[in-house]
C-alpha cells in the first residue's frame, strides 16, 4: 500500500544525512565532561553541533544550551520566571497566548494553581496574536511574555518581533517557543531580539529527545535540571552526544537548504488546498491564509468527524492529525481552533495536513484523490 506521511508537525523523519552522521559517531562514547581524549572528542563534536544550531538561529556564541527537547526548554523559562518571583521580583505577572503548546499552557495552569499571576492574550479569528491586544495588557508588573513563533495546529505565524518590542518597552522579558517554526521559516534571534527561544530536534529532521534553549547574554536564568556542572552549570545531565550531533547536522542541513524548497513546500500545500476545496467546496481552511508555515494546512470538513476521517485516511496509508475531541479522549475539541472562534462543530471536523521536506506532488495528488470519497461516505452515515 502507498504510504503518505503528512504529519510532519507531529514529528519529522530523520534526514538520511543525519542518520549517516549519527551512525558514524554512534560509538563516540566518551563522557563529554571528562578531561581525557575520549571525553574531549565527544566534547568537540558537541561544540561543533552547538555552532551549527547557533548559526541556524543567528545566535552569538555561548548562548545555546542543549536540553532534552522543546518541553524542557519551555519549562526552564517558566521555572526561571517562577524563581524570580519567589525571590521577590517586583514584576509578578506572566502573559502567554491562548494558543501556546501544552508544555506552556499546562505549566501556566500549574503556576496559577500555586497562586502566580498568569494572564492570557487571545488571538484574532485567523489565530494571530494582535500586537495591540498585548499592548493593552502590558504594565510595569509584567515579568515575562511568551508567544510561540508559529502554531503547531494551524501553522499560523506570530508577529514575534513586534510583540517583543512591546514586551521590552515595558521592561518585560520575551520568550518564544519556536519548535514548529524552526526549519520552516527563517529564525533570527538578534533580529527578533527575543530573550529566550525554544527548539526541538525532531521537528526539523533531527532525532527525538534533544532540543535547545537560546538564552540571550545577560538575561536572568535559573537552572531547572540540577545535579552537575554541564552546560556551564546551567543544566545537569551527561551529554546526549549522539542526539546532539544529529540535531547539529539537521541544523546544518536547514541552513544549506535553498529558499526554493520552502516555496516548493508552499506550492504543494496550495495544490492540496485547492484540490480539496474544488472537490469539497464547503470545507473551511483554518488559520491565516498567508501568514502560515509553508507545509501546514488545517481544514475543517462540516458533517464529518475528525477521528473518523483520520482513521479512514489511515486505511489508505495517509497519516494526518485531527483537532477532534474524540481523538484526544476528552470531550473538548482543539483549544487552539476554539481560541480563534471557530465553530465547535467545525473544530470536531478539523484535519491537519502537515507536509515536509520529502513530500512529493504524487503524494499530494494521491491525497486529493482519497479525501473526497471519505468525506462523502461519512456524510452519508452522518445525522446531517
Amino acid at each position: 500500500m502507498r504510504e503518505v506521511y503528512l504529519d510532519n508537525n507531529a514529528t519529522t523523519p530523520v534526514a538520511p544525512e543525519v542518520i549517516k552522521v549519527m551512525a558514524e559517531n554512534v560509538n563516540l562514547y566518551g563522557n563529554a565532561s571528562s578531561m581525557h581524549g575520549f571525553g574531549r572528542k565527544a566534547a568537540s563534536a558537541i561544540e561543533k553541533a552547538r555552532g551549527h544550531v547557533e548559526t541556524l538561529l543567528n545566535a552569538p556564541g555561548d548562548t545555546v544550551m542543549f536540553t532534552s527537547g522543546g518541553s524542557e526548554s519551555d519549562n526552564n523559562v517558566f521555572h526561571t520566571a517562577r524563581t524570580l518571583i519567589d525571590e521577590g521580583s517586583q514584576r509578578k505577572t506572566i502573559i502567554v497566548s491562548t494558543i501556546e503548546h501544552p508544555a506552556i499552557i499546562e505549566t501556566c495552569k500549574d503556576l496559577e494553581k500555586n497562586g502566580y499571576d498568569v494572564r492570557y492574550v487571545g488571538v484574532d479569528h485567523f489565530g494571530v496574536v494582535q500586537v495591540e491586544a498585548l499592548e493593552k495588557m502590558m504594565n510595569d508588573q509584567v515579568l515575562l511574555v511568551s508567544v510561540m513563533s508559529a502554531n503547531n495546529e494551524t501553522g499560523t505565524i506570530q508577529p514575534v518581533k513586534e510583540l517583543t518590542k512591546v514586551a521590552h518597552s515595558y521592561g518585560a522579558l520575551m520568550h518564544t517557543d519556536a519548535v514548529q517554526a524552526v526549519g520552516k521559516i527563517p529564525i533570527d534571534v538578534q533580529e527578533w531580539d527575543v530573550d529566550y527561544l525554544s527548539i526541538s530536534g525532531h521537528k526539523f529532521y533531527g532525532p527525538k529527545g534533544v532540543g535547545a534553549l537560546y538564552i540571550k547574554k545577560g538575561v536572568p536564568f535559573e537552572t531547572f535540571v540540577r545535579g552537575g556542572h554541564q552546560e556551564g552549570g546551567k543544566r545537569a545531565g551527561t551529554y546526549n552526544t549522539n542526539a546532539i550531533i544529529g540535531m547539529g547536522e539537521a541544523a546544518r542541513l536547514v541552513m544549506n537548504e535553498p529558499a526554493e524548497s520552502r516555496e516548493k513546500e508552499w506550492d504543494l500545500r496550495e495544490r492540496l488546498r485547492k484540490g480539496l476545496l474544488e472537490n469539497i467546496p464547503d470545507a473551511v481552511v483554518n488559520g491565516h491564509p498567508s501568514l502560515c508555515l509553508p507545509g501546514t494546512l488545517n481544514i475543517s470538513f462540516p458533517q464529518a468527524e475528525g477521528e473518523s476521517i483520520l482513521l479512514m485516511l489511515d486505511f489508505e496509508g495517509i497519516a494526518v492529525s485531527t483537532g477532534s475531541a474524540c481523538a484526544t479522549g476528552s470531550l473538548e475539541p482543539s483549544y487552539v481552533l476554539l481560541a480563534s472562534d471557530l465553530d465547535i462543530e467545525l473544530a470536531h471536523g478539523s484535519i491537519r495536513f502537515s507536509l515536509g521536506r520529502y513530500t512529493t506532488q504524487d503524494d499530494i495528488d494521491y491525497v486529493i484523490s482519497k479525501v473526497p470519497p471519505i468525506i462523502k461516505r461519512l456524510r452519508e452515515i452522518s445525522t446531517r
Partner: protein
C-alpha cells in the same frame, strides 16, 4: 489504546462495523414508526435512530451517526443486536452489551457507545407515544442512584433532558440528592455531566 502498536487502535469487529456499517439510514424514503435523536454535533457525536415495529418486535432499525469510529461502530452493532428483539428487550439493551459484542473499546472511548442505546430508547418512547400506549419499560430500567432519597438515574435524566436542572445545584434543590449520607454525590455528578453531554444542554 491497544497494547499492540502495529495493530489498529480498535478491535477487528469495531473496524468492520466502522468501515462497513450495517443498517444505515441513507434512504430518504424510509418511514419509521418511531424516531429518536440524541447528542449534538457540537458535542462531537449525534445519533438518530428510526424503527418500525411488528408484533411488538423491532422489525427494522435504521440509523445515522455523526461521530468517531467508536460511535459509528457502536450504533451499527446496536442495530444488529436490536433488530428482532421485543420492545422490552430492546429497551433494556445496554452500552455494555454493545461494547462486549464489539470485543471491547479503548477505555476513553466508552462514552462514545452510550448514545446508541439512548437513541434506540428514545425511538421506542416515540413509537409508544405516537400509538397512545403506556410505556411499561421505563421504570424497569431505572436504577436507584441516591438510596437515601430514592432518586433514580431516570429521574436525573428527565430533569436534565427537560432543562429543569441546568446545574448541579439546581438538581440538588429539586431532588435533595446527596443530602443525607452523601455517598452518591460523585456518581450523580458523573451522570449529570453525561446526560448534559447526551442531550446537549
Amino acid at each position: 489504546m491497544s497494547t499492540n502498536n502495529s495493530a489498529w487502535v480498535y478491535t477487528d469487529t469495531v473496524k468492520e462495523h466502522f468501515m462497513h456499517p450495517k443498517n444505515i439510514w441513507d434512504d430518504d424514503t424510509y418511514q419509521p414508526e418511531g424516531e429518536g435523536l440524541v447528542g449534538s454535533m457540537a458535542c462531537g457525536d449525534q445519533m438518530k435512530v428510526g424503527i418500525t415495529v411488528k408484533d411488538d418486535k423491532i422489525e427494522t432499525l435504521k440509523w445515522q451517526t455523526y461521530g468517531c469510529a467508536s460511535a459509528i461502530a457502536s450504533t451499527s452493532m446496536m442495530s444488529e443486536i436490536a433488530i428482532g428483539m421485543t420492545l422490552e428487550e430492546a429497551y433494556n439493551l445496554t452500552p455494555a452489551m454493545i461494547t462486549e459484542k464489539l470485543g471491547g473499546l479503548p477505555q476513553h472511548k466508552f462514552h462514545c457507545s452510550v448514545l446508541g442505546d439512548k437513541a434506540l430508547r428514545a425511538a421506542i418512547d416515540d413509537y409508544l407515544e405516537k400509538n397512545n400506549r403506556e410505556n411499561p419499560f421505563r421504570k424497569n430500567v431505572a436504577k436507584i442512584i441516591c438510596e437515601c432519597k430514592g432518586i433514580t438515574d431516570q429521574r436525573i435524566e428527565d430533569l436534565v433532558k427537560n432543562k429543569e436542572a441546568t446545574t448541579l445545584d439546581e438538581l440538588r434543590d429539586i431532588t435533595q440528592f446527596g443530602t443525607v449520607c452523601g455517598k452518591c454525590r460523585f456518581k450523580v455528578q458523573q451522570l449529570f455531566d453525561e446526560y448534559k453531554h447526551i442531550y446537549n444542554v
